[in-house]
Structure formats: structure tokens, C-alpha cells
Symmetry: C2
Subunit: 134 residues, 2 copies
Amino acid sequence: MVYRSAMKIGELSKTTGVSIDTIRYYEQRTLLPEAVRTQSGYRQYSGNDITRLKFIVQAKELGFTLKEISQLLGIQSSDCRDVKLIAESKALEMEGRIAKLSRMKEVLLELADKCGQSGNDDPCPILKSLEELT
Amino acid sequence: MVYRSAMKIGELSKTTGVSIDTIRYYEQRTLLPEAVRTQSGYRQYSGNDITRLKFIVQAKELGFTLKEISQLLGIQSSDCRDVKLIAESKALEMEGRIAKLSRMKEVLLELADKCGQSGNDDPCPILKSLEELT
DNA sequence: CTTGACTCTGGAGTATGCTTTATGGTTTAT
DNA sequence: ATAAACCATAAAGCATACTCCAGAGTCAAG
């Protein structure tokens, strides 16, 4: 895997699919570190920024807010004293989400099964199934 | 499990933890059906509404937008003809999320492990770990 | 050396998901 | 019967997360 170490914001945008404005916005929100600048003031990025930006995108897709992602990434900036604790608590949080998603998935599949079997004009049993979730 | 079949918006709010205003907002957004009214115009709710509202809360915590939740719940209002397909595709979507969350969790635990072992002043290896994610 | 693509900053605008405010009717307990 | 608590609508306001200008500098190609 070869990363050209220097690229401008447009290229970072293209390789990550994140818009230029959004990249600058993330910098403002400190999700990305302040970019190194060329003499003329252009932002310079590296492979690390690609990785970080892709991580942000993934986390967002999973429903984390920018604030939470900032926390997740903030782990890096800490001095490694309580990183272990933070990372473990975040992992637990994810486990909770996984459990909820699994239950929702089960409910939906059950529903699919029931609706597949029952006649087309029967009322769908979704609300009944949803009760199992709570 | 006994539900009193009739309750006003304040009680629904208390039992679900969702604010009165938000409940009305969800009705506006058609996440909740238009509530039956008393002669005086007060909204009347039942156990079904509790279930539905709790489902909405759960789905929101999992990062679904109101639009997506509307779709999930919309399954009910369809005539059971393609419910099976919709439910299955949603379940697949959740599986994808679960996979991503699992990977993020693994990365975080690895990170916790590494940071726990390494000296307190070493740089944290988070970015390296993040690469495994993408 | 100029055209066109790219970048900069600062600020305004937009969509989503509430939350608050203003104004007024209803219900209930004393 | 009246105060306190509850409910109604409509509209404005707010936080988050972008998204889109305006006005201006930078740079590579012909």
C-alpha cells in the first residue's frame, strides 16, 4: 500500500468521498488536526488523514455524533494514561448497540417469516413482534 | 402485562420518557398514527402507542433517522404483500451495521491492550489500528 | 501572461429533529 | 367555583452537521 505523502484538499476529498467543505468543517470541529500548510497557505494532507477521515465516515454511518467521534479519536491525543479505560468503555457501548441491532434484526426476520406465511390480507403482526424488543 | 387502554399524552410521555412535544412532533411526521381524540380534542393513546414509541426510541439510539424509522414502521401499513422483502432487506442492513460495530469494537479492544502494555509516554498506536478497519 | 482549475476565509443558508413560546380551552381537586 | 394542572395549535427558535456563496489569492498549461 503506497501513499503519496503530500496531497491537497481536493485529492483528499476525491479519495475519501468527503466534500472539501466538510473536510474543512471537520478541521474546525477538531475531528481532523489542523492541516500543515504550504507557503501559499494550501492545506497538505497525508495517508494518515485518509485513514482518519474514513474512520469518521464509518463511525457516522453507525450513528455516532461528531462529538462522540471526536471522543473516539481524542483517544489518540491523550497521553496514553487512561486510553485503556476509554477504549474499553467505548467497546462496551458498541457491544450494547450490537445487542440491540441483533434483537431488531431477529424481530424483522420473524416478521418477514410470519408475513410470508400469512394470507396477503391478514393484518401484519409487526406491533406484536415489536413488544419483544422492549 | 396490563395496559389501561386509554391514556392522555402526558401519561404516554411519562411512561415512555418521550416529551409531549416530541410525541406531537412524531405524529406530525407520521411516525405515530393520528391519535384518536376525546370530545374536547385531547389525544387518546393505548398500549400499542407505548410499544411503537419505545421502538422509535430504540431505533433512534441505533442511529436510524426519523425517515428510516418511518420506513421501518411503514411496513405495518403496507398490505402484507411485500413486507417480507422489506423486512429482510432491513435485517440485512442491520447485519452490515453489526459487522462494522464488531470491527470497531475489536479495534478499540486491541488498542486498549496495546496502550495498556506500552509505556505511558509512548505514542498511542490508534491510527495504525484504524487502518485495519477500512 | 492569461485562462481555467484549484484553494483560501468568512459568513450565510439548509435540513433534521426537536424545543420553546404565545395564547387559549379543559379537567380536577378543594 | 376557582386555582392548579393538563391539553390544544401555530409559529418561532435552536443545535447539529453540513452546504453554498462571495471575493480573492495560487498555480499549471498553452
